[in-house]
Symmetry: C2
Subunit: 663 residues, 2 copies
């Protein structure tokens, strides 16, 4: 039998054991990785470009003189397709055989299915008062009789006279282009003013369009919402995998990467800046077709992220937030010139970085805070922001506490055997018949459940929200018990043991898939989910204890799953302490909502700074009962027994927002 | 007879007709150009590197298929010495023969004599209150009990508590290095604060040294004064030719260069930034030997220049100040991050650009204004700032007017046949015997007058201040008449006609020189000086008329000549309207003094902005009597007749400051 090697595909996080000599393309297909191959392995289309991530993986084979891939250098056939701008390490997946452990990155362009935006923007209600506004001026052309007034002074005087804005400063780069703009516009110009303080852009003639971008950088996913600052409407949304994923799948491993590689911080900062510039270019160029630098029409940008992503984005050493006493470089909000960060929006504009709460509770949680405003509520509300890290807010108008739990990326489908991102082919909803243990599932890109579809279903894997679904259903159907252990011999061939003797449940048979393998849920997957949900549950429980709260009035679920999390499943699994199901509200990407609110209303920026300081950070890991609580929280409580009328309840209620899936 | 070609050497401005086939090195020697040639033409030392400035000169020969130089490409012998970092167009002067009109640039490194600083700093009396100050803080190291305070917040709180500085902002780049500085200094740091508003540097431990640089960018010469901001003392001075000279010798030709070359503005901006970075590196590295980036120890920089140099330095289109109605982009002072300009001082620090008065009266004149403070005087004072442009201030505490006159570069020794910069070998003082017409002269680098020196004198040319000397002396000796025309046949072989039949006066015979040619003063030189001094005189006269001032109480001479201008000669030539000689004061580089004052006292910055607006700009070229006045002003008034006791007067008085020549 051929030797097998560990292969991990990034950014999907899909991994598996692959037989020696298999091509990378075949391995991708076996593991259900989304990798384009138009020519179907004929080595002519050049679409299956991947980057071999050497140096971030065990090198034992290389050290023993054996190459991980063959051929080691690109062939002439490959070189026909590989261009210098592709960067180093790029190969054609169809042309490289696996001969050692490998980590492979699939660039955005090589992915066949466009990711489904799981962080779609919902409508938010907020008074429009953006930090950046446009004013049109018509000046009297200068003559030899008033030649002692410069263009700057002429504009400043008109802004005071026409709009009451006194003592405006001029951004240096903006000032450089002002003379030409004035003359091109024949002394009519449109002036963009930041915070009533500084002129950050001067355009010839009358200009109406004023764009702002709200950005949410998650550990795994980044999303940008392009807003029209004159209407407040979201006019386009773009998302992508966080390009820092190759340097570490979670926050701690990226901090470690920065600590152990001399250029690590700069590499990761460059990666996220480059990635955000791609979002900027795409999000505008789909709306405006008229410029070589489409991003320059964006006049303002707000951004949220967790503390580690915040530090790396700003080029600040994340070492100190990774070790006790976990001190961040800065907590308050920052306004940084776009050009200082290399972000390709209007170079005179500022990037508004929302404040962070504490070492582990970042600007993204401040976004959730100002979007959900628990400080304006009478009831005790628990807000769970579920991403690669889980962040919790608990309290009411009198007091709000926050904490952070290391849930790991399981909720986002990573480190799950057949986990994948929300893209066409991903199983997104699951039901299991409690008697027969037969599943029904729905695949993204298909309108109906699989049992009603004729022809091939082509399932590829399971997306994050469906992991919760399927494990909750397995629990209800008695396939796993409350400790998460598989119950064997229950009269179905779907529950079986894998090659290593570990139990698994077959969700889709090979012939229903596009990967020619059974899609299964393993004991490992169940354990990963239990750890994740246990961390959340335990965090909430300990916060309640510290605050003396016996019972929650409401739970709000925010985060990467956005509008897709199944409330019943989350109750079934026990992701958080008891609360009536009609008091569980799915609020979507609240962090992104907060970033949008700060973009549309400058008062929200002040509120963010004030409330970020007002919220009390609670350290739960140091609680003496932490370990015991955590162990208990891993159990699955079988909520079905508690809520016999769950289904009826659910049907009475409509989801608070429509699913907003972007094709 | 061999054909001759026009050759111009930059930045000295020396030019002449050179026989076909002469090497560039020989041509340089014939024209007295300061060009190093250690091996004496043996083609081995590689010191005589020059840049052929193609593209900025007539190309007729090249178009006809003939090369201006032979060989057209560097020989292998040359290539041994030419390195990639020398840049394009570099050749060895000893190895290239002239076969067409040429413009040649002599890089600083290829010049044998170090320029004498003619803009040496004089002592100025000013209260020390710099815009940038350093504060040392010792913080309590954070523990798990105060982990919700970031480094920024910790420092800001300490600055408020220890020094009463509230609400300090943090420069973004500075913030990036703060965490490491805190830990490296074991929680003792030194914080540099700009204008009590913003932290622009954080250094570990206790730091005393705080440097600032005052910069004066002249059309022809740039100088930087390194000041210790804790004592106010000038601790080092560096000067260089303005590296923009190859793109135009005067302001208008540089504006034209920017208008006619798509990359012209950028080229000239890059040139001055690169040049100033050289000054920054040199001026600090002579004082501190401890850093890879010596400039980073400079925490503040003030800069003055004329309006065209101001715009080009800032990358602003100078087109509009070059044509009616001559509107500048901005008049008020600017504070621009060093990194936005690419100046290699502390990147978080600001460059303070002094305000300008009007289209033609620049920040350099504002420097003169705040240094000389005519607005605090009872008397009517005329301040003449003599550089490539002449700028005038006239008035008293009630009213001060300003104007600008196009004097051309004659006062600086350019466009004068044997004119050269103030470097070893330059004639700097001249006396002529009124009977015999025999001259005495003093050469820079020699302690005594030439008549008292044994051995070779090695004169090379005439520096700017000596041009005024020699022409005033020629006038007094009756060699030229009051219209500037040579008087022939006065019984000396020193007055003769050149090859073209034009009269000239031999100041030094070939055997006294290092260039093996007679150093002469030509009719053209006299005319150039008459035009220059006529422009000044006429400007002053018209300002007096406009202000209703009949008589001046005092004249202050400022500018490039610094401490070297001869007051008697300037009176003899009639550079300005009548005033008693004891009321003529030489004030040195007042523009640079103003830049230093703004560096040492932030109140002076406010004063500069206020007074720049308060001064009235007078346009003299549009005065109907301008042409008539200008023609009259060209005449030389023979002041000797008016002041028979001139010499006695001069001896009674000591120069207001000691000559401060740096070897």
């Amino acid at each position: 039998m051929a030797q097998k090697f560990k292969v991990i595909f990034q950014p999907a996080g899909r991994r598996g054991e692959i037989e020696e000599g298999t091509t990378i393309l075949k391995a991708a297909q076996q593991l259900g990785v989304d990798l384009e191959a138009l020519c179907g392995d004929k080595k002519v289309c050049g679409k299956c470009k991947v980057r071999i991530e050497e140096g971030y993986f065990e090198k034992d084979n290389l050290e023993s003189g054996m190459a991980h891939i063959t051929p080691l250098e690109p062939t002439t056939d490959e070189l026909k397709h590989i261009k210098p701008e592709d960067g180093p390490g790029i190969r054609l997946a169809c042309s490289c055989e696996i001969h050692g452990d490998l980590k492979v990155f699939v660039p955005e362009r090589s992915r066949a299915g466009k990711q489904v935006v799981r962080k779609a923007a919902k409508d938010i209600i907020i008074a429009l008062d953006p930090a950046v506004k446009k004013y049109t001026l018509t000046l009297t052309p200068p003559t030899l009789h008033d030649m002692t007034t410069g263009d700057y002074e002429r504009i400043a005087a008109a802004m005071e006279k026409d709009y009451g804005l006194k003592g405006l400063k001029f951004d240096y780069l903006t000032l450089r282009s002002t003379q030409d703009a004035l003359r091109e516009g024949e002394w009519t110009i449109t002036v963009t003013v930041w915070m009533d303080k500084e002129i950050v852009k001067v355009e010839p003639g009358h200009v109406d369009v004023c764009y702002g971008l709200a950005v949410d950088v998650g550990t795994t996913t980044c999303v940008g919402y392009l807003c029209d600052l004159s209407t407040g409407k979201v006019i386009n949304t773009e998302s992508m995998m966080n390009p820092q994923v190759p340097y570490g799948e979670d926050v701690m491993s990226r901090i470690t990467y920065a600590m152990t590689n001399p250029e690590g911080l700069k590499t990761m900062q460059d990666a996220i800046i480059t990635g955000l510039n791609e979002i900027i270019d795409k999000v505008v160029s789909e709306v405006r077709k008229d410029g070589a630098n489409p991003g320059y029409s964006i006049d303002d940008l707000t951004i949220v992220f967790n503390t580690a992503m915040h530090h790396i984005f700003l080029g600040m050493n994340p070492t100190y937030i990774g070790r006790s006493p976990f001190i961040p470089a800065v907590q308050q909000s920052l306004d940084i010139k776009a050009r200082d960060l290399g972000l390709r929006i209007n170079p005179g504009s500022y990037i508004h970085v929302l404040p962070i709460e504490a070492g582990f509770v970042g600007a993204d949680n401040v976004g959730v805070l100002i979007a959900q405003e628990p400080y304006n509520q009478d009831e005790n509300v628990l807000i769970i922001d579920i991403g690669t890290n889980g962040e919790l807010l608990l309290g009411n108008k009198n007091r709000v506490c926050s904490t952070s739990c290391a849930t790991g990326p399981a909720f986002e489908g990573a480190q799950i055997k057949f986990g994948m991102r929300a893209a066409p082919g991903a199983i997104e909803k699951v039901k299991i018949d409690y008697e027969t243990k037969e599943p029904k599932y729905k695949v993204i890109g298909k309108a109906d459940w699989h049992t009603h579809i004729e022809g091939k279903i082509n399932a590829k894997g399971i997306c994050g929200s469906a992991i919760i679904d399927v494990i909750a259903e397995m629990c209800k159907a008695g396939i796993i018990d409350k400790t998460g252990k598989f119950v064997m011999d229950i009269g179905t061939n779907r529950v079986r043991k894998d090659a290593e003797g570990k139990p698994e449940y077959v969700l889709a048979w090979a012939e229903e898939t596009s990967i020619n393998a059974d899609i299964t849920v393993t004991q490992g997957d169940v354990r990963a989910l239990q750890l994740a949900k246990g961390a959340l549950y335990c965090g909430a429980k300990l916060m309640m204890k510290k605050m003396g709260i016996e019972k929650l009035d409401r739970v709000e679920l925010a985060g990467a799953f956005g509008s897709h999390i199944d409330r019943e499943a989350s109750l079934t699994l026990g992701m958080f302490p008891d609360v009536p199901i009609d008091k569980v509200v799915v609020v979507g990407n609240a962090a992104g909502d907060g970033a949008r609110m700060a973009l549309l209303n400058k008062g929200k920026r002040i509120e963010a700074d004030e409330r970020a300081r007002w919220v009390e950070f609670v350290e739960i890991a140091t609680d003496p009962t932490f370990e015991k609580e955590f162990m208990q929280a891993m159990h699955i409580p079988h909520m079905k027994d508690k809520y016999p009328n769950l289904k009826a309840l659910l049907e009475e209620q409509k989801a608070p927002m429509a699913a907003n899936i972007k094709g």
